[in-house]
């Protein structure tokens, strides 16, 4: 099982722990990753909010590179994942989008490269039986709220590997890791995403709502699969508590970090030290 890996800009900086833990978990589970050579930024929200041409061309440029390597693409960042999938969708379904992307990048591309999120690869390609068989240190008793955020499952005609309103793939992974996935209603509520830079007060309000709901559902911690969700919920926790009322400090881990622990990987290989609210490896 081999994929071309598109890390995306965040995984080189704020989401370093997502990068480390994704690579470590894939290595442990026999998924070979070959980083797309000289990949460039997918453009993220600033591109699609500023230039329709750029929003399709930047992802197309990266997908052309993966095509040259002859491999399907695996993405970790939920935002990059949505941008690459959206570009493929448009290039396949709208001939003008395809011609424009080809004019801008100067290379042919038909939108044919498969793009999968790391969760999709783990749950649907590798399979839960394989993962359960590899869990060597089950996380007994730990209660976890799985937070999917917005772009992992939306819009469903473009991403479509889990239910848009009630996704379950992370719950399956957390359960396989020996923890308990709590039922809670804000699985796919947005955390405010890139408003973090421009309107941190709005993000603080949303983070407070999400964290207090996860706590009232009995969760000890949250798991996420998006760099912005992690930063917004972890780094803004203290500010959110100041503005909106007391919050019990709640660790926010990448789902790959939690899975890595259950696979018996050493914490230092998973970037567990790189969070504002620390996780000591037990109940909090």
């Amino acid at each position: 099982m081999k994929y071309a890996f598109f890390p995306g800009c965040s995984l080189e900086s704020t989401a370093r722990a997502f990068d480390l833990s994704t690579r470590a978990v894939c290595r442990a589970l026999g998924i070979a990753l070959e980083e797309i050579p000289d990949w460039a930024c997918c453009g993220s929200t600033p591109a699609h909010a500023s230039s329709d041409s750029l929003a399709v061309a930047l992802p197309a440029f990266n997908l052309q590179k993966a095509q040259a390597a002859g491999l399907p693409v695996m993405v970790a960042c939920a935002s990059c994942y949505a941008r690459l999938r959206t570009a493929n969708h448009r290039i396949r379904n709208n001939p003008e989008d395809r011609r424009r992307a080809e004019r801008i990048t100067g290379r042919p591309y038909d939108g044919g490269i498969e793009v999968r999120h790391v969760l999709d690869v783990l749950v649907n390609h590798l399979g839960m039986d394989e993962i359960r068989a590899r869990v060597s240190r089950p996380l007994g008793g730990l209660k976890v709220a799985c937070y999917y955020g917005c772009l992992l499952t939306r819009p469903p005609e473009i991403v479509a590997f889990d239910d848009a309103e009630h996704p379950t793939c992370m719950d399956e992974l957390v359960t396989a890791a020996g923890a308990t996935a709590v039922e809670w209603p804000f699985k796919t509520e947005c955390c405010g995403a890139s408003l973090s830079m421009t309107h941190s007060g709005v993000v603080g309000r949303l983070a407070h709502k999400l964290l207090s709901m996860a706590r009232s559902a009995g969760a000890d911690l949250l798991v996420v699969a998006c760099p912005l969700c992690q930063v917004n919920l972890d780094l803004r926790q203290a500010d959110a508590a100041k503005a909106h009322g007391a919050l019990r400090p709640t660790p926010v881990l990448y789902v790959t970090q939690l899975l890595g622990l259950a696979l018996g990987l050493p914490p230092e290989d998973l970037g567990l030290d790189a969070a504002a609210v620390g996780y000591a490896g037990g109940k909090s």
Binding site: A40, C41, S50, F61
Partner: protein, 186 residues
């Protein structure tokens, strides 16, 4: 009682349809987008009201709103719309139109953030976060927010003082140049 927003057949709806590739005219005001919008409580005009104002051709109200810059592009509205309108896509089209026509509110920080972010991508091929944040802070004069978080992030290796440049940077600059040309085409 007089209607504060007179009906105005300005072609706004048709332009939004062309730019976003979605039919705003199909909106029948069920308000599902607004009720599910996480940012709704902070908006001056709700997403369903934006759709209605587009019907009415109320260009100044729509393009001069805070709402188009507050939209977080979470796609909840697009996913739930019973008429399959890509509401998040409409918000993108409106932001682009507002910049084109110079009707952006002076305090619309979203525009400054997008410029700073894309400037970093054009320069390095990837986002160089420290440089991007500095550029954004200079543009908005918002110099001190979040500086308390920087030392720990540097210590944890979550921010790098130097850019991690993509070797594709020349091609990326060419993509920016050609994309601008394409956007100018009628």
């Amino acid at each position: 009682m007089t209607n504060p927003i007179p009906w105005n057949d300005s072609g706004l709806m048709e332009e939004v349809r062309q730019r976003s590739g979605t039919r705003v005219s199909a909106c029948f005001q069920c308000h599902k987008c607004s009720t599910g919008c996480p940012i709704g409580p902070d908006m001056d005009i709700l997403p369903s009201q934006i759709m209605r104002l587009v019907h009415l051709g109320a260009e100044n109200e729509v393009l001069g709103s805070h709402a188009i810059w507050l939209c977080a592009s979470c796609e909840a509205c697009t996913t739930r719309c019973p008429m399959a309108i890509d509401i998040a896509g409409v918000m993108d089209a409106l932001r682009i139109m507002a910049v084109d026509r110079g009707t952006v509110l002076p305090d619309a920080r979203g525009k400054q953030f997008h410029r700073s972010f894309l400037g970093s991508v054009r320069r390095h091929g990837r986002v160089y976060e420290v440089g991007m944040m500095a550029a954004y802070k200079m543009r908005t004069f918002d110099l001190f927010s979040d500086v308390d978080k920087v030392p720990r992030m540097l210590a944890q290796g979550k921010l790098s003082l130097l850019p991690n440049r993509s070797d594709s940077v020349k091609q990326v600059r060419e993509i920016f140049r050609r994309a601008k040309e394409e956007d100018r085409k009628p």
